[in-house]
Symmetry: C2
Subunit: 136 residues, 2 copies
């Protein structure tokens, strides 16, 4: 048995890391800087990047857990969790069977999905007026 | 036993209603109208109003349940639930023992508590830069 055929076991605590998480961390910091400086918002589609599960865990640990957690139900559940770095949100969309469909890091004061949209508010107002007219 | 001493049992489905929930419903519709027309936001402190538990339940049922649910942990848990009428949020603040401390109806695109605040984002950026400098 030559040395080449000995299975390599990486015992380092960073086992499974591809090396792609660290530059992503720098990019997130840049995005936050732009949010502070000019109010510019940005998002990174994690599903589109060559990240290993360990990369994501590494990133998630370093970004930490914030105070605000949003859940949104619309054809599957989405979670929009603020990280310990305010303005940096970790967004996971799942299908109706709970499978992760996509993951994003969004750098913004509040993710767009959380905000009520004017057209929906108008529809809601119509609903409220209907309830009131039934009671009158 | 005179008729006056017979205990009255209200069997109507609206048992326990004070009559204060209905005008509140009209006020909420007015608030939503102002949000649509001019972007004006407003809040009602339910704790400050003479509402019975049945009033609140009546109101909550009629406002319905929306898609967005926010939980926020800061010296007790707060829940900020969008109702079925987008832009109308039911907000409950609890203490560390889970007791309801206050309840609000807020009419806004997104409750202020959900939004990241510029000063906090700057602090978070400092934290991120610290993490990056440790890795460099």
């Amino acid at each position: 048995m030559s040395i080449d055929s000995v299975p390599v076991r990486v015992l380092a605590p960073d086992s499974g890391l591809s090396g792609n998480a660290w530059p992503l961390m720098m990019e997130i910091a840049d995005m936050v800087r732009r949010l502070v400086d000019s109010g510019e918002t940005a998002a990174i589609d994690l599903s589109a990047l060559p990240l290993t599960p360990a990369d994501k865990e590494w990133l998630r640990e370093r970004l930490g857990t914030g105070q605000v957690h949003v859940s949104l139900e619309a054809e599957g559940q989405s979670s929009l969790d603020e990280t310990a770095c305010p303005g940096v949100w970790w967004i996971t969309h799942r299908d109706t069977r709970g499978r992760v469909m996509s993951e994003f890091i969004e750098v913004t004061l509040v993710p767009d999905l959380v905000r009520a949209h004017p057209e929906d508010i108008k529809i809601g107002l119509g609903y409220l007026e209907g309830v009131i007219s039934q009671l009158s």
